[in-house]
């Protein structure tokens, strides 16, 4: 509850007309951005250093752990910079998972873009079936002005199909160098209850 309340209070501040229109002073704009970032991290996992009085953000993590009825430790990463093709998890790990939560009340198809440092990746869905994917270079028009602090030179694109309404779907992604982790026989599991 305190995690949510921090984000609620921040969103309240964001209703100020200067925040809505962007007519705040520059330093205030940075303060707003900082508050939103702290609020979001408070509601995510691994928010240990956010505020001393808030121990760890557990909201989403607890939802998934409870919903999946598993002891798997969902350590969701803070990838708020994915919109500028930066993500610490996908750039620094050979194996990682992508979990997509669909907030819409009908199923959707969505193309997902994940920043990665090399070209060879395999995307598996939750059943172990390989999902078609494509690597596209991230344009870097001006090297000397490159604003991204990132190892990624490419984006991995794949189609997340039939994301269930207000439900989630997970994908396992690994580099081809680690394809010994890719199952040789694709076993089809029971369809999970949405």
């Amino acid at each position: 509850e305190p995690h949510l309340t921090f984000l609620r209070e921040t969103m309240g501040i964001m209703q100020h007309h200067d925040a809505v229109t962007g007519t705040e002073k520059e330093q205030v704009a940075y303060d707003y951005a900082k508050r939103v970032d702290v609020g979001i991290r408070a509601c995510r996992s691994n928010a240990r250093a956010v505020l001393n009085r808030i121990v760890t953000g557990k909201i989403i993590e607890e939802y998934f752990s409870h919903s999946a009825k598993t002891n798997y430790n969902f350590e969701f990463a803070n990838c708020l910079l994915r919109n500028i093709s930066v993500c610490e998890v996908s750039e620094n790990n050979d194996n990682f998972t992508v979990t997509l939560y669909n907030p819409i009340a009908h199923s959707v198809f969505e193309y997902i873009r994940i920043p990665v440092p090399s070209k060879n990746y395999v995307v598996l869905d939750y059943r172990g079936i390989q999902v078609p994917s494509q690597i596209v270079p991230i344009p870097s028009p001006i090297k000397e002005l490159d604003f991204r602090s990132s190892n990624s030179s490419y984006e991995l694109v794949f189609l997340a199909s039939e994301l269930p309404p207000m439900g989630y779907k997970s994908y396992y992604i690994s580099t081809l160098a680690h394809n010994d982790l890719v199952p040789e026989v694709m076993m089809v599991m029971d369809t999970p209850v949405n």
């Binding site: 007519t23 705040e24 969902f74 990682f96 979990t99 028009p141 002005l145 199952p183």
Partner: protein
Amino acid sequence: VDGITIGNKYINLTFDERGLLFKVSSNGITREIVQDFLYYEAAVGNNAEFENRSSGAYIFRPNNTVNFISTKIKIEVFRGPLVEEVHQIFNNWVSQVIRVYKDESFAEFEWLVGPIPVDDEIGKEVITKFKSNIKSDGIFFTDSNGREMIKRKLNHRDTWNVDLKEKVAGNYYPLTTKIALQDEEARLAILVDRAQGGSSLEDGSLEIMVHRRLLHDDAFGVDEALNEKAYGKGLIARGHHYLLFGPTRSKSSPTTQAKERFIQLQKFLPSWVFLSDASKYSFYEWK
């Protein structure tokens, strides 16, 4: 590069010898649609009177002439099974990726603008412009917080006789999700990924402001110019526009307007993406 086309079974985009988008085909109709980046020079005033304020954080007040960013665009084309992309470089502070996914009926424009140079001590307000041969007759539509579309008419107000002294600023309207225009046959809509300003200053054209860097305060209260100085060289902005094009009316399939509503919903309520380190887990363990 003349005649390069990217697309799928729903929509195709063709680029001309300058590297600019110049033709779009979708749902059985084809129209010229040229997309380019331009900028307005910001007006400078002494702020002593209301009529003489500078363009600033509160007011968009450009000089009425518009300048081209570039006349020769460097492009690269990338094709694959899921997405086809054209990477455009306009100059060393404006670039763009135009992409069409295999199963989507719209084109995505991912623009990257900044840091806007102000070495010439002129504030600049950068726009993206889509110019088509759709006969819109001065009529265009902007959304009302993503809900009702509101009909706008160039140099016109519904409830009084208006005489606009500033033809650009006086015709700009807020967009939170969409701007569109149409004639009897074709309809063009652009979805935006954030609140922006937009207008249609000529028949068939849509323009949307993407970034500004100004050097003067407008004396409405903020008391500083809209010129981010913290990093010493201005901000770089990156965002998306989604172009939808098709027949104005359709008897056999959903109308272009109906498709816009579905795509609007998906684009503004996208999936939440969570990534986890799985270094310690094989696929079977994770499963």
